[in-house]
Amino acid sequence: MPISHGVSPGQASPDATMGSDLAIEAVELTKTYGKGDKAVRALSGVSFSVRSGVIFGLLGPNGAGKSTTVKILTTLSTPDSGHATVAGIDIRRHPDQVRRVIGYVSQKPAFDPIATGRENLVLRGRIYGMSAREARRRADELLERFRLTEAATRLTSTWSGGMQRKLDVAMGLIHRPRVLFLDEPTTGLDPEARAEMWAEISALTRTERLTVLLTTHYLEEADRLASHLVIVDRGKVVASGSPDELKRHIGGDSVQVELADEDWNGHAQRTLQAVPGVTAVTADGSRLRARVTNGAAALPGVLTALEAAGIEPVSVSVARPSLDDVYLHHAGRAFREADQAGAGRTGVAA
């Protein structure tokens, strides 16, 4: 049964009450850090639900409240108000039980650099109550699965960044959790390692039969991996649905015009706005984006108008709506801008 259709920011999905098939249910979570003048509101009523066995994306710019949401769901932090269940267990009433069924891979590395890959995995297995032999067997299985077997007996401080990140994910899986939380799993990885990590993550729900909650500020990552996602902005859910649903919901195409010189963009923006069929124009540096109902039909008009105005674009292209458009539509600002603004703030609400 598909849940969280369309856009219902700040409200629990009506399907959420239907129980057993939900891996995660968050209702009206709020959280403020600090007091008085220094208070930072990280979450102002976040609600969503995640069906079992899917990869669910929590997408948003830096500082949107993604990590705070994950910290609450993993029992690391407590919400000021609201409630949530993970694998059917109430996070506030039974945090101990929640901890047994979740895996948490935080943004920061959690492996021990002065231990080998296998030692890292075995120790985590033992912490979850496995016998030494069981932990070793499971460690070898995971090393094999993430293609780390060859390096298994080397100190992890000598591993590459991509391998270390895979080890962190493997450590989160050692006890066969039902829900795995991946907080920004590919931040800081080079493109090759990122592609590899994507392949691993998308295989997880097939082979480990678990639910994955993934936070990311990469639009492409959410688009590629998540079957459902919510877009979080300034501590609120602004949109939810599958990537396709979200794109379909805003409708139309966009015509992107790349200018040779940023100085032209005010003039060009006014020119584009006057073209019939163009509903909105946004500018991001030297790049302009015009929303149109049908890209192919609008293109000749756009080109003619630019030529008539004496503007020579570097390139003009038609694009199907992207998650970037979805974000722009719901949050009223371009994703990249919001991401940079968020990164400049203090890390507390990241």
């Binding site: 850090y33 910290k71 993993t74 029992t75 690391l76 932090s77 407590t78 101990d96 901890r99 047994r100 979740i102 948490y104 891979v105 935080s106 943004q107 920061k108 590395p109 959690a110 021990d112 002065i114 231990a115 030692e119 120790l123 985590r124 033992r126 912490i127 979850y128 109550g129 100190l155 962190d168 450590m171």
Partner: protein, 258 residues
């Protein structure tokens, strides 16, 4: 309870494994006490001739107190590994696993206790080489080790608690340095109680380092006064338990901050 002990054991084991791969760290913590024992001890050799010292050999007088002082100073660094774990994702991962907050603390304290025993035995050895003789024998040495461990546990717990509260390496080291030197000079570690100014002797009775130093020296004499030893060891034990409990409570402050 068995899970608690198992988790403590696993976390202590992790730290010991790290130490076994970086043994130089232990030597590093021994540099300062060696300077005290070899240089300070030699420079002030003749101080033991003053009436009020129970022994003629200053090194013999100094060794048990220095063992306690070293245990205290080394334990003050305990929280730095908490801060490293917090800066990395290790602490967060531990706190989202079934490991209890108490086990994280006891794991750290047990590790500190074990390294204190190793350090203390090395210092005893150096003392012997320098001519100190311990009439109290094996039992006496055992009590000195017990005092050193209890003192280490107390200060390691304090250091862990401060680490969870300030979450900053510089602040933690500053605070522990701020405590260590005054506590050392306001004690009988280097000077016989009978020869201290009265006010210092008064203050020293509230100083856990002094409790450990007094009990340790007493235990190494030929016929120890057990009343002196039991009262000091009892106080140290009580303080260690209170500090361990406080450190566990400090997790709340940490969790509020994340």
């Amino acid at each position: 309870m068995t899970t608690f002990i198992a988790h403590t054991g696993l976390l202590t084991g992790r730290s010991l494994r790290t130490l076994s791969r970086q043994p130089a760290y232990l030597l590093f913590t021994l540099v300062q006490p060696m300077v005290w024992l070899l240089l300070f001890g030699q420079l002030f050799t003749r101080i033991a001739e003053l009436p009020g010292f129970s022994t003629d050999s200053y090194v013999e007088y100094l060794t048990p107190g220095l063992i306690a002082m070293t245990a205290m100073m080394t334990a003050g660094w305990s929280g730095t590994s908490f801060i490293e774990d917090m800066e990395r994702g290790v602490m967060d991962q531990t706190l989202t696993s079934p490991v209890s907050r108490g086990a994280v603390i006891t794991g750290s304290l047990a590790y500190q206790g074990i390294t204190t025993v190793i350090q203390s035995l090395i210092m005893f050895g150096v003392g012997l080489l320098l001519g100190a003789r311990y009439a109290g024998g094996v039992l006496g040495v055992g009590i000195v080790l017990l005092c050193a461990v209890l003192l280490a546990v107390t200060f390691a717990a304090l250091s862990d608690a401060v680490a969870l509260l300030v979450r900053q390496q510089e602040a933690l080291i500053g605070i522990s340095q701020f405590l260590a030197l005054p506590l050392s000079f306001l004690s009988s570690v280097m000077m016989a109680p009978a020869l201290m100014p009265d006010w210092v002797a008064d203050v020293a009775t509230f100083n856990p380092l002094d409790w450990a130093a007094v009990a340790s020296r007493e235990a190494l004499t030929a016929s120890p006064d057990w009343g002196v030893i039991f009262s000091r060891v009892g106080s140290l034990l009580a303080l260690a338990v209170v500090m361990g409990w406080l450190a566990t409570r400090a997790f709340r402050a940490y969790q509020r901050s994340i």
